[in-house]
């Protein structure tokens, strides 16, 4: 099928099977390599992007579901020179170890911050529940989100 996807504010028209997961189109056709393939089963969150402002697993979102919807990837947030507030917080807290999960982490966290500027600790934790980091930098990731949300850093938490 021919489909037009709105990604990071731009339209992309392409030809693909309607059941193709968004992740494959982002990486293979649009060369947006921020979102990663982790498990392909919606268990890890490395592929997380935003659809209409909500965090979704792009590995489990077929493009047939996306006509007319707004897609945002980590490339749509900021640049190396001008990182977004959240990206800058991830840098400051050195939240990435291998970095494989980070694009997904940022996109999920951004969805929360877009909805609620100052979420509580409990809200952050329950919201981030779906994304895993195999290096185990969850504590730094949480610190980065707290920093971006203007919450106290609670060192050692």
């Amino acid at each position: 099928m021919t489909i037009t996807l709105h990604v990071n504010g731009r339209d992309h028209t392409l030809e693909a099977d309607p059941s193709t997961p968004l992740l494959y189109v982002l990486r293979d056709d649009l060369e947006l390599n921020g979102a990663k393939y982790g498990c392909g089963l919606g268990q890890c969150g490395a592929c997380t992007v935003q659809v209409d402002g909500r965090a979704v697993f792009s590995c489990l979102t077929p493009i047939a579901a996306l006509e007319g919807r707004q897609i945002r990837t980590v490339e749509g947030l900021g640049t190396v020179d001008q990182p977004s507030r959240l990206q800058a917080a991830f840098l400051t807290e050195q939240a990435a170890q291998c970095g494989y999960c980070i694009a997904g982490m940022i996109m999920r966290a951004q969805a929360l911050l877009d909805e609620k500027q100052h979420p509580t600790e409990a809200e952050i934790r329950s919201h981030m529940d779906a994304n895993l980091c195999r290096c185990g930098t969850h504590m730094r990731i949480l610190r980065a989100i707290r920093r971006a949300a203007g919450l106290p850093s609670t060192e050692g938490f």
Partner: protein
């Protein structure tokens, strides 16, 4: 001709007649009001329940460990923790919102705290609350506390449950105010409800059934209160005894029939019920979801013999008097016809679901149940399928294995309706669900996981 006098006297006559009528009306009105007042007072008097004196919280050491252990098991079977624990709140400290068709109730604190829990309740006050739905201070309790079932509990069992709660950590809370539609906040009305709907008494075992069946019947009809969800309710919110276990509603989910009308693709057996209730999943019937998930979590910690007795009784409700082998008849699959009827649903399923649920997917090769085996696709109501797609599924027994992610944010309502329609068509022989869109709207409104 002077007619004015005649007219005048006519007026006087009429007015005196009217006055008499008026007086009569007034008298009727006054008597009526007095009568109504007396009736109201009588009715109110009938709704009155005396307060039971507060006691000092009993010493923990005054309860035997056997009683506490027995009470703990009954609390598991009764699933008390689920309603009486709020998200992030202390165990049994209440405050959890319970959405009902009559408004939102907040569960109460049943820890041993003297001020805000039940620490100052005597065993008699506790027994009365459980069986008659009356608080220690004489206030009527709402039937969200399933005293329709607890009425069957024995004194010994209630005293054991009392011992369990009195030995729980005391937690002080502030009780949120219920939000009920007027005039339902006026508790004396509940006395009328009870007069109409609260029946039952001491549980009578049946001599023509096994000891285990009788134990299961006592637990299912009593503490486990299965009918509270699995029996349909009347508009007054009472269980319809004539349709016992014919399927009901629970917190936005459909509780399927657990009588002869159960829709499972393969008949339940005593063994499969036991496995399901104890582990939250059975390979021939699927996984527990929604409000059933915490039930299985609690039953996983209840005595095995009691869970088996429950399985025996529930199997008998479904018409199975003894354990049988699960029938291994080939399962329904109509992939081609389903793809024809629901091309969009088929494409969405292929991209979003088949990675786990499709033939050859890792989950399927690990022996997880096929979708045709799950009761949700077979049920007369689409609500559970819709809920599971929207909110996903987590392991009810707290395991760390794979789970089903939520799709509420990935798909629009019409896309989820397409997927649900495709599942129904592919995995069952039943007709398409009507009103899928309404089911979706309601599921989104009522929310998912309890």
């Amino acid at each position: 001709m002077d007619t004015s006098g005649k007219i005048f006297s006519e007026k006087v006559r009429r007015s005196s007649v009217e006055r008499l009528r008026y007086l009569n009306h007034k008298r009727v009105l006054v008597y009526g009001l007095v009568g109504a007042g007396i009736c109201t007072l009588l009715a109110l008097a009938l709704t009155y329940r005396y307060p039971i004196a507060a006691v000092a919280r009993p010493e923990q050491a005054s309860f035997s460990s056997e009683a506490v252990e027995k009470g703990a098991a009954l609390a598991r079977i009764g699933d008390c923790s689920t309603c009486h624990t709020a998200d992030g709140g202390g165990p049994f400290a209440g405050g959890r919102p319970l959405a009902t068709p009559f408004g939102t109730l907040f569960s109460t604190n049943i820890t041993s705290h003297e001020g805000t829990g039940i620490g100052s309740w005597s065993p008699a006050a506790f027994r009365r609350a459980m069986r008659s739905g009356v608080s220690r201070d004489g206030k009527h309790l709402y039937p969200a506390l399933p005293y329709e079932h607890f009425i069957y509990a024995t004194d010994a069992d209630l005293d054991a449950l009392y011992a369990f709660f009195m030995t729980r950590r005391a937690i002080a809370t502030t009780q949120p105010v219920n939000r009920l539609y007027p005039p339902l906040g006026f508790r004396p009305l509940l006395a009328g409800w009870k007069m109409l709907f609260l029946h039952g008494g001491i549980w009578q075992p049946r001599t023509d059934r096994s000891v285990e069946w009788n134990r299961g019947a006592y637990l299912v009809e009593g503490f486990a209160h299965c009918g509270a969800c699995h029996t349909p309710r009347s508009i007054a919110g009472a269980e319809m005894a004539a349709h016992a276990y014919a399927g009901g509603w629970a917190e936005g989910w459909y509780a399927p029939p657990i009588n002869g009308q159960n829709p499972a693709a393969r008949d339940w057996t005593i063994d499969s019920l036991y496995t399901y209730l104890r582990t939250g999943i059975d390979m021939n019937h699927g996984a527990a979801a929604g409000p059933m998930a915490p039930v299985t979590y609690n039953l996983a910690h209840a005595p095995a013999s009691d869970v088996h007795a429950i399985a025996v009784y529930v199997a008998s409700l479904m018409g199975k008097t003894q354990n049988t082998e699960v029938g291994m008849a080939p399962l329904t699959q109509h992939p081609d016809a389903a793809a024809q009827d629901h091309p969009i649903g088929a494409a969405l399923f292929a991209g979003a679901c088949s990675g786990c649920h499709g033939p050859g997917a890792p989950m399927m090769t690990q022996g997880r149940p096929l979708l045709s085996l799950g009761s949700a696709v077979q049920e007369a109501e689409p609500r559970d399928v819709v809920q599971i797609i929207l909110h996903g599924l987590k392991s009810p027994t707290g395991g760390s294995g794979p789970y089903m992610p939520a799709f509420a944010d990935s798909f629009t309502d019409s896309q989820i309706a397409e997927i649900a329609g495709y599942l129904r068509s592919r995995y069952t022989d039943h007709p398409a669900w009507p009103k899928l869109n309404e089911a979706l709207a309601q599921a989104r409104e009522e929310g998912g996981q309890p």
